[in-house]
């Protein structure tokens, strides 16, 4: 039992943390108690994840939980996103009615769900993790329940999310019917006779629908901009990064062995079917996500569409499915988490500092003159999202594209590069708006000196900015880089 619990220690820590925060909240604890305790539990989970990253892969809880370097790596990213979100949120949500201990309890519960999700080795546990994560995120998305967009976000995310979970569960039941097992290994080792059956294919297809919804890939992306717009901004950043890291990590473990094994044995297996579906959905996501973001006027919606596009780049890793692609995808996940969290954090900060009622582009006019350094930070994250060297976003894209070219997916790569150029235009437009546009209200926008960056924001922003710069040049440094580490997982 002890080994079981040790294998799942990060999840245990966050779960206990969530319960503790919840009870603290019931007893009307002060913010000065709740936020540090949240951070304490998250830091503990982060430390354990880093410690476990050097351990070999092993299974626990009668083969249902898989621990080891790969899972720990994903857990570390997720928990890091949680830490940054907590730091940012406790500052930008100050004075809001919705700001309560439950927000932090829900963040911890969501992280527990994500940890369960990525360390599951069994479809049932996968579903339990997914639901724990989703339910906590539904609550978080609808926090601003007295605002129009807040209600829209909460309700849309909840109804569509429940629908997608239904697809996933239905697919699992089909797969179970075809193979008679819910263990990942059993699915990976299923014989071609089994994987050729319509049952199995339909099951995999339905599960893919649930997966595409969670990572907001086209055509299951419609909720993304609305939800990101209506949720509290720091929470939008959390949803767009941590939940996607969890979904990509868990489904990589689940799907890749299936597509590998089937492709090796028969050219017309369900694997190749899944691959072709992934191929087209990847292209669609990149094109639709980046093209649609041109027309957007709201910063949070732009980031929503950009996250659809980034989901497309990440899905390329699934299509290519070589060890290089795997490494590239993991690196891209790290880079994406850093820069996207950073962008959302800066927008959240501006919203609070300048008292924006919404995050439209017009609000950004002239802000570059009032707060040049903070806009420079935002620009850093935007440039990284656009893929400018020498930032993390550039290196991530470079790795993914080169892996695709090596595996012979030239068309896919060309489409990806073209859509990346379109995307770059949008990000640059945001920067231009901030620096070069003369805002009508720029002079009247009073800057309260009290509302500079607080300690939480300073720590979060410097961590994210340092990470964004560091991982861009990481591989060129003489010391062991993230890539070397990630390569060791395969």
């Amino acid at each position: 039992m002890t080994t079981d619990l040790l294998a799942f220690l990060p999840g245990l820590l966050t779960a206990i943390g969530g319960l503790v925060i919840m009870i603290l909240g019931a007893f009307r604890a002060k913010k000065q108690v709740v936020v540090p305790s949240t951070l304490l539990f998250l830091l503990g989970a982060f430390g354990v994840a880093i410690w476990q990253a050097s351990m070999p892969t092993s299974v626990a809880f009668s083969d249902m939980v898989r621990s080891g370097s790969f899972a720990s790596f994903l857990i570390a990213i997720i928990v890091f996103a949680g830490i940054v979100t907590t730091l940012v949120n406790q500052e930008v949500m100050q004075g809001r009615r919705a700001h309560s201990p439950e927000v932090y309890a829900m963040i911890l519960f969501a992280i527990t769900g994500m940890i369960t999700f990525v360390s599951s080795n069994h479809l049932l546990l996968l579903f339990v993790g997914l639901e724990t994560m989703s339910i906590a995120l539904y609550v978080l998305a609808g926090l601003y329940k007295n605002e129009r967009h807040g209600v829209e976000a909460g309700l849309k995310y909840f109804i569509l999310g429940a629908f997608a979970s239904g697809f996933l569960l239905y697919g699992m039941s089909f797969v179970y019917g075809a193979t008679g097992s819910l263990h990942f290994q059993a699915l990976a080792l299923a014989s071609p006779e089994v994987t050729q059956t319509l049952f199995f294919r339909a099951g995999i297809g339905l599960m893919l629908v649930g997966f595409f919804f969670k990572v907001s890939a086209v055509p299951f992306h419609m909720w993304t901009p609305d939800v990101y717009q209506g949720s509290p901004t720091a929470i939008s950043g959390f949803m767009s990064t941590a939940s996607k890291v969890a979904a990509f990590g868990a489904f990589w473990v689940l799907l890749t062995p299936i597509s590998f094994s089937v492709d090796a044995s028969t050219q017309a297996g369900s694997g190749s079917m899944a691959i072709s579906a992934l191929y087209w959905i990847s292209i669609l996501s990149m094109v639709v996500g980046n093209l649609t973001s041109i027309a957007q006027q709201d910063l949070k919606r732009i980031l929503g569409f950009s996250s659809i596009g980034h989901a497309g780049y990440l899905l390329m890793g699934f299509v290519v499915a070589t060890p290089q692609a795997f490494t590239a995808m993991l690196f891209y996940l790290v880079a994406y988490t850093l820069m996207n969290l950073g962008a959302f954090a800066m927008i959240a900060h501006f919203e609070r500092t300048f008292g924006w009622t919404d995050a439209s582009m017009d609000q950004l006019k002239g802000v570059g003159r009032i707060a040049p350094r903070r806009v420079a930070l935002l620009s850093l994250f935007m440039l990284s999202l656009a893929g400018f060297p020498p930032l993390a976003g550039f290196f991530g894209k470079y790795l993914v594209f080169s892996a695709a070219i090596e595996a012979g997916f030239v068309t896919l790569t060309v489409v990806a590069i073209l859509s990346a150029i379109v995307g770059a235009f949008v990000y640059l437009r945001v920067i231009g708006q901030a620096y070069f546009e003369q805002g009508e209200s720029a002079e009247s926008q009073s800057v309260d000196p009290q509302k500079g960056m607080g300690w939480g924001m300073v720590i979060a922003a410097s961590l994210l900015a340092a990470g964004t710069i560091h991982f861009g040049i990481d591989a060129l440094m003489p010391w062991p880089s993230l890539l070397d580490w990630v390569n060791g997982f395969m």
Partner: protein, 128 residues
């Protein structure tokens, strides 16, 4: 099987028969002279105002939700209770953890006043 459940079915039949006999008796032997006033719902002698199916307090829904959670808890405990002495410490600990988590949930809802039918005060925001 039959020996166990036939008496139960028989009991159900008997109870239904008794109930039906009573109700038919009153239908047959009692008078039946309906009129409009007699058929209106009773509202302390006044003409009824509006429909009876009005909206009612959300607390009833909350009670129903809490009931489902804790009724399931009780139902999960029953099978464990039968064999708990022989199942080993891991199972014992698991059940205790399960009960504790639900107990904390109960504590939370009680502290938050979810099941408070009396007070009409709005919940104030916690932090400013």
């Amino acid at each position: 099987m039959l020996e166990t459940y036939l008496p139960v079915v028989l009991l159900a039949a008997i109870s239904l028969t008794i109930a039906l006999i009573f109700m038919t008796l009153s239908r047959v032997m009692g008078p039946y002279r309906p009129n409009k006033v007699k058929l209106t719902p009773y509202e302390s002698g006044m003409d009824p105002i509006g429909e009876a199916k009005e909206r009612y307090s959300i607390s009833y829904y909350l009670v129903a939700m809490e009931f489902i959670v804790f009724d399931l808890e009780v139902m999960f405990l029953y099978p464990w209770v039968v064999r708990y002495l022989d199942l080993g410490f891991a199972t014992f600990a698991a059940v205790i953890v399960f009960i504790t988590v639900l107990f904390l949930g109960l504590l939370y809802t009680l502290k938050k006043g979810t099941l408070d039918f009396g007070s009409q005060t709005k919940v104030k925001p916690l932090w400013d």
